[in-house]
Symmetry: C2
Subunit: 237 residues, 2 copies
DNA sequence: CGGTTGTTTGAGGACGTTCAAGTACTGTGG
DNA sequence: CCACAGTACTTGAACGTCCTCAAACAACCG
C-alpha cells in the first residue's frame, strides 16, 4: 500500500478522525489493488471478508433474479441496486454485521480499491468511538439513498425516474438551463433506474416533451423547474 | 414517563449498554404517548424533532406521489416503504443527520410511542461509543431490509413478492407445511409489497398453484420448498 | 470495408392498474 | 336473532406501461 493510497484512505470522513496507530495497523492488514471493468469483487451469498474502499473508479452493486447459487437457469435477469464511486465504501452493512452479502459487486469503470480485512473493521467499530459514529452517519446517508430509490420505484413511472435522476445530476441548479453529463453507459443506467435499455431509450424520447434533449452522454435540460414539476419532485435531499 | 415504559425502553439493544445517568437524562427530556390508528407522527419534509421508539403497536413509513407540500393534486397515490413494530425505532437516519424526513409516518395499529428529543439523541451519538456502535449496527440491518426490498421490487413479479413475504413470516421453517398469520390488512400489505389491493387478490389466487391457500388472515403453505423455488428465493437473511 | 457493439424503433404480449360491480365480513340497532 | 349499513375483499373488463424479441441503424475499430 503506497503513500498516496494511504493518505487518500485517511482523508475519508470514516477514517479521518482515527489515531495514527490504528490507521497504520489497518494498512498493514490490508492491501490495494487495481481492478479492470467487469471484475467481480464478491458475489451474493459470499461472507464479507473485506471492506472495499473505492479510491478511484466505479463499482455497481447488483442482484440477479435466479439464485446465484444455482447456475442452471439461463435467463438471469439482473438489476443494479446501487453504484458507488471514489471515496465510498462498498456494503459496510455486511462487513459490520458479519453476514453474507445480499448482492454482488462488479467494477463498471476501472477502479483502484483498498481491501481492508473485515475483522479489523469490526474491531474498529468496537474500539473506536469516532469510527462507530462516522459509520453510523455514513449508514444513515446510505439508508436515505435506498429509501429514495424505493420510493421512486414504487410510485413513479420510468420517464419520471429518469427525470429525477437528471435532477440529482444537476444538483444545486434550481432554475433555467443546465447541461449534465451521464456518468454511465445506457445499459448500466437503465438497469440502475429499474428499466430495460429499450425503455430507457423511449423515456429519453419522452422527456423531449418537457424540454430535455440528449446528445450522446450529455443531456440538456431547458427548464429545470419544468422537469421538476413533471417528475413530482419533492425537493428533499 | 412511567417505570414500565422506561424499563422497556432500556431493554432495547440501542439503549441497553448506556450508563444509567445518560438514560435518566434522556427520559427527562422525552415523553411517552399513546397514538390511535391513522395518527400521523410526522410528514415528509418535516425536520426530525424526535426519535420515535415504538413500545407497542405498528407504524408505517409511506411516501406520496405528488409533493406533500402541494396539497392541490387530488389522486395522491401513496406507497408504504417500511413498517416498524414494537422495539423498533422510526427513521433514525433523519434524526442522526439532522435532515428533513424523506417520508411520512402513520400509525397502523394503536401504538405506544416514546418521543426522545432529537438533539439529545445526537448528543448521545457524539458522547457514547456504545450508542454509536449500536446505532451503526441497527442502521446496517435496516439498510439490508431496504436493499432486499429494492431487489424484490426491481426483479420479481407481484406474486413472487407476496410469496417471499410469506416465507419471511414462516422464517425458520425450511420444509413441509406451515401456517402463517398476516399481520396487516390487505390494503396495507398491498401497498407495502408495491402493488394495488386488486393485484394482491390476484396474486393470492395465483399462489394456489404452488400450494398456498388463504383463509382470512391465515395463509397455509403446503410445501415451503415449493414456494421457495417459485419465488427464486436465495436463502439470504 | 466488414465486424462488433451499443442504441433506437416497431410489433406483440405480459403484467399491473383502474374503474366498476359484485360478494363476503363485521358490527350495530331494532 | 335478524336486518341493515358499512367496510373489506374479490372479480371482471378495459386500458396503460413496460418487457421481449426482432430488426434497423449508428458508431467505433480492426
Amino acid at each position: 500500500m503506497n503513500q498516496a493510497d494511504i493518505s487518500a484512505l485517511f482523508a475519508l470522513p470514516l477514517f479521518a478522525p482515527l489515531p495514527v496507530a490504528m490507521l497504520e495497523q489497518l494498512c498493514e492488514q490490508g492491501f490495494v489493488h487495481s481492478e479492470p471493468t467487469d471484475a467481480v469483487l464478491f458475489q451474493e451469498g459470499d461472507s464479507a471478508r473485506f471492506l472495499h474502499v473505492i479510491l478511484a473508479g466505479k463499482v455497481a452493486l447488483f442482484a440477479t433474479a435466479s439464485s446465484a447459487l444455482d447456475p442452471s437457469r439461463p435467463p438471469q435477469r439482473e438489476a443494479i441496486v446501487e453504484i458507488f464511486s471514489a471515496g465510498e465504501v462498498v456494503i459496510a452493512p455486511a462487513v459490520l454485521l458479519d453476514m453474507p452479502y445480499l448482492m454482488s459487486a462488479r467494477v463498471i469503470e476501472p477502479a483502484r480499491i483498498a481491501f481492508l480485512p473485515a475483522p479489523g473493521i469490526r474491531d474498529l467499530l468496537r474500539d473506536s468511538h469516532d469510527f462507530a459514529r462516522e459509520a453510523a452517519l455514513m449508514l444513515a446517508r446510505h439508508w436515505r439513498l435506498l429509501a429514495r430509490q424505493l420510493k421512486d420505484q414504487k410510485l413513479r413511472s420510468a420517464p419520471q425516474r429518469l427525470g429525477r435522476y437528471l435532477l440529482t445530476l444537476a444538483n444545486g441548479t434550481s432554475s433555467g438551463r443546465v447541461e449534465v453529463d451521464l456518468p454511465f453507459d445506457r445499459r448500466t443506467l437503465a438497469s440502475w433506474l429499474g428499466m430495460s435499455p429499450e425503455n430507457l431509450s423511449r423515456s429519453i424520447a419522452q422527456l423531449a416533451e418537457v424540454g430535455v434533449h440528449f446528445r450522446g452522454r450529455v443531456a440538456t435540460i431547458e427548464a429545470v423547474d419544468r422537469l421538476h414539476a413533471y417528475c413530482l419532485e419533492d425537493d428533499l435531499r
